[in-house]
Amino acid sequence: MPSGRLSPRLATVAGLAVLLFLLWLVFPSGFFLRIATLVWINALAAVGLNLLMGLAGQVSLGQAGFVGIGAYAVALGPRHLGLDPLPSLGLGLLCAGLLAFLVGRPILRLRGHYLAVATLGLGILIWLVLNSEVAITGGRDGIQVPRLVLFGWRVAGAATWYWINGLTLLAGVLVALNLEDSPIGRALRALHDSEVAAAVAGIDVARAKLAVFVIAAVYAALAGALLALFNRFVTPQAADFLHSIELVTMVVIGGMGSCLGAVVGAAVLTILPQALTVFHDYEHAVLGLMIILFMIFLRQGIVPGLAVLLAKRPA
């Protein structure tokens, strides 16, 4: 590699940083910044899920459950434990990680669709608790989240949140890319293709899967906490099955195994419903159609798919 050129890892992060800055300059209204902020938040969860699904090949249909844990932590911590939002957030990440750690081992023994249904069950259990324990969680109608105060600074305003979430995403992407480019990342990709060959190479497959499951859960919980703090309101929908499906779709549409893809997938699925409101009654039909078309024409996902298309074109 010629010296002075950035590694692909740093190039991705730098590119995102520039994008972050440009969008901030360009966007006229708080609404656009808000959508962008939601993109960053969803992307964070998707980047984590991509480590689990794209890299290690372990499908999770319950990722929103961890989003829910993070989101409710910042709502319930201050209300029931008298904690500030920031420590509550930390507690949420801890809870999500711990839960993932505890249930991960038995669940991750399952493969393919069996793993899918087990994670689905886990997500539904979390959702059910959030939905049913009305006295604690406020139940189905949701609950208010106190304002985030960082060292005396009351966090408010679309631009502020845009930056907080954008920078968190940047950090999340960098960490994910770092992980990919390490022995652990290679181990995860290896066990995706052949668990027995990975084991024979000395990889503790169960532990590696557990580790990435926990990491993905923490990403999801962080995204959930940020979403709740940003919205100042949270309902059990944050944890529901459709949200899990949405996260999976983001990862696949963007391109399984591609960190940048996860970000792009999140952007597409967050922006599309907003853009499609012009179709009124046909909004859903068009959304479904677009998902189908994306997957037919860019079947490895947007980012890898476009990379192939660009490579084909003579330079």
Binding site: A116, L122, I124, L125, M256, H284, I292, M295, R299
Partner: protein, 290 residues
């Protein structure tokens, strides 16, 4: 005692619909390794088309046939225009396509039909049948009987005919299937078509009990999927066993433990079963060697 019996009836009859939905999943999975998330839309179409045709004056049996036809055609279209063009893509990609298709079909259905709930008259009256102090609706027996009939036919086709074996061969190894002369495109189209028919039948049979609307399918599909996995994916008998087991679990949990957490109980049991039997109750054990 009559209480227990009531819970068992409740679990085994109306909820036999989980078994039907699971069967639909199983068929497409058997042919392609794909979980068809548009399965719930077949159920919805079965109910909604029958309701609208019946309301328009078509006799009930004809309306039901029409609904099945619509679902079959939808299945075939789904295959022809969404699955087939993505031939060679990974199973995950195809699954996302079925999610897109589900959104698309439902979006269109909301425009073609309406957003209200609808019902159908029960096939053989509303008078409950009383057995030892518990009661069952005649329609519930229709659901159970329908599930039994469909699984019997499907089992015969899958296990006893060369066509059934061709379906399984296509899923097991697409390349090899083509090399022995199986038209894998046709096999997949067949799977989607029949799966559509099964879904529609489920929709028609349960609408008199559970009512229908364009959004009726989501949770049903989720439970059908869970049931299929509990029974052991890929095995039609497993799908039915899983469906009935899930139904029974739910109703016993609602009756004896907590109606709030009955779904939680059901999923906990599924997790426990998978922990002991990672291939489900009747699933085929892994056969790949190194």
């Amino acid at each position: 005692m009559d209480q227990l019996l009531q819970f068992v009836f409740s679990g085994l009859t109306v909820r036999a619909v989980y078994a039907l939905v699971a069967l639909g999943f199983t068929l497409i999975y058997n042919a392609s390794d794909v979980i068809n998330f548009a399965q719930e839309e077949f159920v919805m179409l079965g109910g909604m088309v029958t309701v609208f045709a019946f309301a328009a004056g078509v006799p009930l049996p004809l309306a039901a046939l029409l609904a099945i036809a619509v679902a079959v055609v939808t299945g075939l279209l789904l295959h022809r225009f969404a699955i087939e063009p993505a031939r060679g893509a990974s199973a995950v990609t195809l699954i996302i396509i079925t999610i897109g298709a589900s959104i698309l079909i439902r979006g269109l259905a909301q425009i073609v039909f309406d957003r209200q709930f609808h019902s159908l008259p029960a096939f053989s009256g509303e008078e409950p049948i009383r057995v030892l102090g518990a009661s069952i609706l005649p329609q519930s027996l229709w659901v159970l009987g329908g599930a039994a009939a469909i699984v019997a036919v499907l089992w015969l086709v899958m296990e006893r005919t060369l066509l059934g074996k061709a379906v399984r061969a296509t899923a097991a190894n697409r390349l090899a299937a083509r090399l022995v002369g199986i038209d894998t495109t046709l096999v997949l189209a067949f799977a989607f078509g029949i799966s559509g028919a099964i879904g529609a039948m489920a929709g028609i049979l349960i609408t008199p009990i559970t009512l229908t609307s364009v959004t009726v399918g989501t949770l049903l599909a989720l439970k059908g999927f869970a049931a299929a996995m509990l029974g052991g994916m890929g095995n039609p008998v497993g799908a039915v066993v899983g469906g009935l087991a899930l139904g029974l679990l739910e109703s016993l949990a609602a009756g004896f433990i907590s109606s709030t957490y009955k779904d939680a109980v059901a999923f906990l049991v599924i997790l426990a079963v998978l922990f002991v039997l990672p291939q489900g109750l009747l699933g085929r054990r892994g056969v790949e060697r190194v």
